[in-house]
């Protein structure tokens, strides 16, 4: 019975192929757009999630020199306002888990005949802890390496790849700005950071070595930045306050004066980045849904025309025993078939478009089961919702009026 009605609906659609196809096109574009937008949105969300989790959790970063507005750039002296002693003092604050003073820079690295320019980070073992960055081969350097400024290095995956190829770097000697360093270990993969840079293209050396032997510093004992990790996320505001107070006190910053450092809550920045990506992908989905709605209205429009055109047919069917429900089902099925076939095609189009976007722009796309399910659910709902009114109209026709219709 239901199968027979499906046949009837199919036959009616076949009778006006061009119109059926054009109506479907509305759904094809609507669902295609939704799938494409959701894939891009989810891809973006996934990418940001990845870089957030690679960043480490509950992090503050303290920068030497204030970067506040006012237009007055910090003097050179102020740019080195933070000290290793500051870092040690912060480590004593309650709620602070690890503190890593950092001296970053760039340098040319040489291994044998290979040459690679990469970022060189001078820090302490606490840095690896704060960023939950494992050493996957060899071992880390220690606090005593930092104290005695030994020439040892930990090498990131990308840097290792470019300098050593498939060779195991551990134990080999590389040259950083001419000075020889022994590679102690290899760092685990981190992937792309929040700023879009490859975090694995790096070399980590002891802070003191960086300051004295590699980059040099006019102000010994000062650092450019300090990374601070708190024990929990909840405690971050408390630590922020106590840290600021401590540093103002240590730097003898008077009441009302600008601090000579700036503090950033990396976790909050990451959260807001994640939030804005989420909002963006929602927005994309919403915009795409509008085209789905337009497609649905197209179905309703065509179904209404079809009901009017086929009034006589409906009358004939009723005169030989079609119930209201039979007519309703026939027209509803027609609408649902149009929307489901249309959305299947739209699904393929959307997936194709997403893969194309990925191939062409390199943005990550995720085609998830959930977005496919959503697209299909919405399509069926659109079909039923927009098909129902015309179908009901058809079913409600008076048999004799319908038969008289010319």
């Amino acid at each position: 019975m239901k199968l027979a009605m499906l046949g009837e609906a199919w036959r009616a659609m076949g009778a006006n192929r061009m119109r059926t196809v054009l109506t479907m096109l509305g759904m094809v574009i609507g669902v295609g757009a939704v799938v494409l937008m959701m894939s891009i949105g989810q891809g973006a969300q996934y990418a940001i999630q990845q870089s957030i989790s690679s960043m480490g959790s509950n992090l503050f970063i303290l920068l030497s020199g204030h970067t506040s507005t006012g237009g007055v750039r910090s003097a050179a002296g102020e740019a080195h306002s933070l000290t290793v002693a500051d870092a040690e003092a912060i480590a004593e604050l309650p709620g602070v888990q690890s503190v890593a003073p950092i001296h970053p820079g760039n340098a040319q690295i040489v291994y044998g005949s290979y040459n690679w320019n990469t970022s060189v980070i001078g820090s302490t073992p606490a840095y690896l802890e704060a960023r939950s960055w494992p050493v996957v081969a060899g071992s880390s350097f220690t606090q005593s390496d930092v104290r005695s400024a030994t020439r040892v290095a930990l090498i990131g995956q990308t840097a290792a790849q470019n300098l050593f190829g498939d060779e195991n770097p551990v134990g080999h000697t590389i040259r950083i700005r001419q000075s020889p360093f022994t590679v102690l270990g290899v760092l685990g993969t981190k992937g792309q950071g929040m700023d879009g840079r490859d975090q694995d293209d790096t070399i980590l050396i002891p802070l003191t070595t960086a300051q004295r032997n590699v980059f040099g510093t006019p102000f010994p004992g000062t650092v450019r930045m300090i990374m601070v990790q708190t024990a929990t996320q909840e405690i971050m505001p408390v630590v922020e306050k106590s840290m600021t107070e401590l540093l103002r006190q240590r730097h003898r910053t008077r009441e009302g004066m600008d601090a000579d450092f700036s503090l950033r809550n990396l976790t909050a920045v990451a959260d807001s980045a994640a939030e804005s990506t989420r909002v963006m992908s929602l927005l994309l989905g919403a915009i795409a849904s509008v085209s789905l709605l337009v497609g649905g209205i197209g179905i309703m429009n065509i179904m209404l025309v079809s009901v009017t055109e086929r009034t006589r047919e409906i009358g004939i069917r009723m005169s030989i025993g079609a119930r209201e429900g039979d007519i309703l089902l026939q027209f509803l099925l027609e609408a649902v078939i149009i929307s489901v076939v249309g959305s299947s095609a739209g699904l393929l189009l959307g997936i194709g478009g997403a893969l194309l976007a990925q191939a062409m722009t390199g943005t990550m796309v995720i085609i998830s089961g959930s977005s496919i399910l959503v697209a299909f659910g919405v399509a069926a709902t659109v079909g039923i919702f927009f098909g129902f009114y015309p179908a009901k109209k058809a079913a409600r026709l008076d048999p004799i009026e319908a038969l008289r219709y010319q």
Binding site: L3, R11, S319, I320, G321, A322, E324, D326, I400
Partner: protein
């Protein structure tokens, strides 16, 4: 009396027109027994089609009662009426009313879809019915590929496919030449001989001769109701 297929009492039907209510049927009373073959006659506009549409449960009277096969039609809901149209009544229209994009077989099988009968059985019975009206060879043709007389035979096959007790035909030969008309009437006579009650509207007296009883309408009322003279009572 319990054998009455149709019992009409005090039946009136008025149409709403721009000039006010127009009475198309006025206090019509009629009883048709099982197995009768009745011709309804009368001038154009006398209410014959209006009456047939009510008999066929396609339209409802304004006043009066219609009892079909012992059931008061006024008390039935739309699904029950559809059931009557599907199984109890076969209706043949002057204009055939076949669905143009369907093969003859599918046209004939259509009522069986609404009776919930499976595809194989539907097709089998459609073929049987088409064979009965001499058109099985054209089962897969479309309605516009056959003649008017053939189309009417297909329409009759469709009306008969669910084995109705009552066959209603509103000027079934109105669009056909006299030779084809006689063929159709022979078919009706044969069906009547099998026990199907037939009510047929016609303008032509020689067509009405095939019936046993002739009911004349004039201006919405029955003015005469008598047995067909030349043929006599069977």
């Amino acid at each position: 009396m319990s054998d009455a297929v149709i019992r009409i009492e005090g039946l009136s039907k008025s149409y709403q027109t721009s000039a006010g209510l127009f009475p198309a049927l006025k206090d019509v009373n009629l009883v048709i027994e099982k197995g009768e073959f009745v011709a309804i006659m009368g001038p154009s506009g006398s209410g014959k089609s209006t009456f047939m549409n009510i008999l066929g449960c396609l339209d409802a009277p304004t006043l009066g009662s219609y009892t079909l096969d012992g059931r008061a039609v006024a008390s039935l809901d739309s699904d029950e009426l559809a059931g009557l149209r599907n199984r109890t009544i076969g209706f043949v229209f002057q204009g055939f009313n076949l669905l143009p994009r369907m093969s003859l077989r599918d046209n004939v099988a259509l009522p069986l879809i609404y009776a919930g009968i499976a595809l194989a059985e539907r097709q089998k019975r459609a073929h049987e019915m088409l064979a009965r009206v001499g058109l099985d060879a054209k089962a897969l043709s479309l309605p516009n590929q056959i003649s008017g007389g053939q189309q009417q035979r297909v329409a009759i096959a469709r009306a008969l496919v669910s084995h109705p007790r009552l066959l209603l035909a509103d000027e079934p030969t109105g669009n056909l030449d006299s030779h084809t008309s006689i063929e159709i009437m022979k078919l009706f006579e044969a069906l009547n001989a099998e026990g199907i009650t037939i009510v047929l509207v016609t303008h032509e007296t020689d067509i009405a001769q095939h019936a046993q009883r002739q009911v004349h309408f004039y201006d919405g009322s029955i003015i005469s109701d008598q047995a067909t003279p030349v043929r006599g009572t069977a």
